[in-house]
Symmetry: C3
């Protein structure tokens, strides 16, 4: 992915990987995994969504396997959580903000890459959303849980979907570039923050309750 | 996959996707997932087997990411189940018949595609079977269950395997075409229906009982 | 993978597949799966790590889908366990030795193949390790368990990582060939055996206990 990202976008992408990796490592602590589980969950949460996207569009080897940064950043997140997880956990509200930023960034850069590989707007939106939520879903599966994105009714996938759709729509209208992508990322980020702030919930099928 | 399917075969394929997607969406209702989980399970149950096959044979992007129909049909199944799942559930016996039809169709078209990509008959049979049972296995994994196909002793994978083997055998004998594929699909469908009707069970290892 | 393995290496590789497949089939017995689950777990435990590696480096179709041996060997392991699992289970201590041998072999041949496909040493080490532990992780996921490699504190991934690193380091120093690979495999095997013998444990994050 590095070859199609500007320097700023690449740094932001690594920041997103870092935050997602921290959430994976914290899950490993909560599930009492050992150091192997912690590193694996950090790597997969940070990189899993992008790897799935790259396999689907045929960008092989995936970016995670061609850039040192993508492997080393989750390692740094692992070390941080391994030694100082009580402190990290206390920063959780702040981390949720960064997680929202990672969500916004991943859904938009994922859509941009899928479009660049010739996918239709609809499929690019799908893959952008998968880029954003896939790592977390793999994290949950590997730690023995149903992916939270499937049931916990937080608005998480939906902001990613809307951010991805904004990229695809502006692209179809002939607008490209970092500015447009950034705008769409801010849209997804803002929606996610508002959803957390006001407790917006995703609906469940008629008649289903706890 | 569209480029190698006739119009009739393509419509039947979409019908199979629809039925599998309904079963995924109903699983989401049963597991009390929210609307995101319902749509994801519908899409993955309907498309997952074919996506795994396409990744393995190198047909990238997978058919699911190049055709609008493959994405929209599970969305339609999702809407149906989201709003009217009590009615859909009442139609379950009929749905099981359609599911058997989807099984027959997927195992044979999956084998045909794998052969077209140059795989050996044995590997094509394997991938045809994976096409048929893979979506359901992913549905179960994502909803926190061991894949039913691995333990529930219904004859489900075996009819798919035999249908796939019939395609590979006739292909090796120089017989191709929609007619042969349809015959093999009917064979798998019929075996599956007979297995349901007469409660045929898959064996377990010696000495294993409940 | 056959095209880049010597005859001896290929036989050893099949031996590794066999041992891993036996462990998958025994897991199926323990989880009371039926014959389908037993065969699927045998195939996936034996072949899963290599398939993931091949998908990542773009070696498509994966070796498992181009060589008859890779499919038939897990079938033979399945038959053995299906009919004689009480006897097989009694051989468990010996099987653990073979498993350690499979670990050593898979981590080194996986690294060699990833290097041959042009990956960086770091990424090749990663993929070598995934080749060695990936099949077992998929086995656990499919049978409804958190992958043991993530939490059970045995030194399992670490010997694989060191064996893979030995291959990458000697390769960077200009040393190649079966002899070097065999030496690295023996290193990983030896570390794994010592870890079992002396009960070495992987650390957990500070403050995490049972």
């Amino acid at each position: 992915m590095t070859e199609r990202l500007t320097d700023v976008a690449w740094l932001l992408d690594l920041a997103g990987v870092f935050v997602f990796a921290v959430s994976g490592a914290l899950t490993a602590v909560r599930q009492k995994l050992d150091v192997v589980g912690l590193v694996v969950l950090a790597e997969i949460t940070g990189l899993g969504g992008g790897i799935v996207r790259d396999l689907m569009i045929g960008a092989v080897p995936p970016a995670a396997f061609t850039s040192l940064g993508y492997v080393l950043v989750p390692l740094a997140a692992s070390a941080l959580v391994f030694f100082w997880h009580p402190h990290v956990q206390r920063l959780m509200p702040g981390i949720m903000l960064f997680d929202a930023a990672g969500l916004g960034l991943f859904c938009t850069t994922g859509t941009v890459k899928a479009l660049a590989f010739g996918l239709s707007p609809l499929h690019a939106v799908l893959l952008g959303t998968i880029t954003a939520v896939g790592g977390g879903a793999l994290r949950d599966l590997l730690s023995g849980q149903i992916p939270a994105v499937l049931y916990d009714r937080q608005l998480y996938a939906l902001p990613a979907l809307l951010g991805a759709a904004a990229v695809a729509a502006t692209d179809a209208a002939g607008l490209h570039g970092d500015g447009v992508t950034a705008g769409a990322a801010v849209l997804a980020f803002g929606l996610r923050v508002l959803a957390m702030r006001y407790g917006w919930r995703a609906p469940r099928p008629r008649g289903v309750s706890d």
